[in-house]
């Protein structure tokens, strides 16, 4: 059918449009946070934590936040700072107890901070369920334990499962190694961790990238997070932004 033929060469192969998700500052990147927002934060230990974006959240001042992350902060910076400043209402995480998690510990023990403790793989799969539009999943992890108490269970093909619901978020803060103006991302080593799946699960994904590269500089075969999952990018070395974007 003639009408159904794709025309050749009508668009040039170079994306000549102007879509540019790069913003100029950390402050601008988090400007539309709001009180009561839920925020996913990538990272495992220190690897992959978007430290500068979290600093900007502290500065922004939004409070009553729900933080979804593997850990609940350590020392004085990052999530620990948000908790210390009393901005966090609830933490959803797998491992809040760290060597220097004193700010979490204090607020948790005083009852000011709600904790939803989730096995790490259930945290991952619930985030994935949100990103991929599933209503719920039956996971074997946690069956028969305290962390499945009160949850629906089911035996399927001789194995026991717990029904777990997706975890959505208003925002995801993600650290990447490099990004282009369409929001395509690559990561570095074990700093990848929760970044790609959180980027898929939040309504707004905000990325801090160590480097901004020109469109086309990332190999299409090796992009880990396609730009469709990214809303805003800010470079941690602003000098590198000007060169490339």
């Amino acid at each position: 059918m003639e009408a159904q033929r794709l025309e050749s060469g009508r668009q040039t192969k170079k994306g000549r449009g102007m879509i540019n998700k790069i913003v100029g500052s950390m402050r601008e990147a988090v400007s539309d946070l709001h009180d009561g927002a839920s925020i996913m934060i990538s990272g495992f230990g220190e690897a992959g934590v978007p430290a500068e974006l979290i600093d900007a959240v502290v500065e922004h001042g939004a409070s009553g936040l729900t933080i979804i992350s593997n850990n609940a902060g350590s020392g004085e910076a990052g999530i620990a700072a948000l908790i210390r400043e009393g901005r966090v209402r609830k933490v959803i995480c797998s491992f809040p107890k760290m060597a220097a998690s004193h700010h979490f510990d204090a607020r948790y023990r005083s009852g000011e901070l709600e904790l939803e403790l989730v096995p790490q793989g259930n945290l991952a799969v619930r985030i994935q369920a949100a990103g991929s539009g599933l209503g719920a999943v039956f996971t074997p992890t946690g069956y028969g334990t305290l962390l499945a108490e009160g949850k629906e269970t089911r035996e399927i093909e001789g194995r026991h499962y717990v029904l777990e619901l997706p975890i959505h978020a208003d925002f995801a803060l993600v650290k990447a190694r490099a990004a282009d103006r369409w929001g395509n991302l690559v990561y570095r080593k074990a700093a990848r961790n929760f970044g790609p799946i959180m980027a898929m699960a939040a309504r707004q994904t905000i990325v801090q990238a160590s480097e901004i590269v020109p469109l086309g500089a990332l190999d299409p075969e090796t992009i880990v997070t396609p730009g469709i999952f990214v809303n805003r990018i800010v470079c941690t070395s602003p000098a590198l932004t000007a060169d490339a974007a």
Partner: protein
């Protein structure tokens, strides 16, 4: 009555796709919408088989049968596009990441039900592909179809008689004689071709239609 040809319809749909949108164009007629997206603007075409940033058809000598669209036609990749597996590709649809999807249809109901995968014929070999995922996954589903069948029946109906693809999933219907909004509150006419009246449109569709 003046009727838009397929080119005019594709052009009309393309007009409603804003820059920056992530778009999936269904097999057949919807695929041709790509030909009318403005040049010099970034529109992101998604293909269910694992492509984002799909470009136009290649020159004959550049055809690569590992770079095809959902209709198995050779395509190209724009600078900035990328590849991913079927799990991620359908997560983009099901997870609500695609802004607009454009599909053909056998029937659309005034409440937005879609029938586009099966005629219901007893001896037909059923095949569904990604139709159901697209129908329920995209933020907005645009349908592109002639308003009437070859035998003159309206394809915009009060209730679909063909097997459904998805319930209440269609936002807009672009036809050869007008554009309709459908949904919970029923069908409303957004545009008509010149010379057509609301009364005539109501008559040929057999539906109680109002202007939007």
């Amino acid at each position: 009555m003046y009727r838009m040809d397929r080119t005019a319809m594709a052009r009309r749909v393309a007009k409603d796709i804003p820059e920056g949108a992530y778009v999936n164009l269904g097999i057949g007629l919807p695929t041709t919408v790509a030909n009318f997206l403005p040049t010099g603007k970034d529109t992101f075409l998604h293909s269910e088989n694992g492509i984002l940033g799909m470009g136009p058809a290649p020159a004959e000598e550049d055809i690569d049968w590992e770079l095809i669209n959902a209709g198995k036609q050779p395509v190209t990749l724009l600078t900035g596009g990328c590849f991913f597996h079927h799990g991620d590709s359908f997560a983009m649809m099901r997870g609500g990441h695609i802004d607009i999807c454009v599909l053909g249809a056998f029937q659309v109901s005034v409440t937005g039900d879609l029938a586009n995968w099966h005629t219901g014929a007893h001896d037909a070999i059923p095949a569904v592909g990604g139709a159901m995922d697209l129908a329920i996954g995209a933020k907005k589903v645009f349908v592109m179809m002639d308003l009437l069948t070859k035998t003159g029946e309206s394809k915009l109906v009060s209730k679909c008689t063909y097997p459904l693809t998805g319930l209440g999933c269609v936002s807009r219907v672009y036809t050869d004689v007008g554009v309709f909004e459908v949904g919970k509150d029923g069908a409303r006419v957004l545009e008509m071709v010149e010379g057509l009246t609301l009364a005539e449109l109501s008559y040929i569709t057999g539906l109680k239609l109002a202007l939007a």
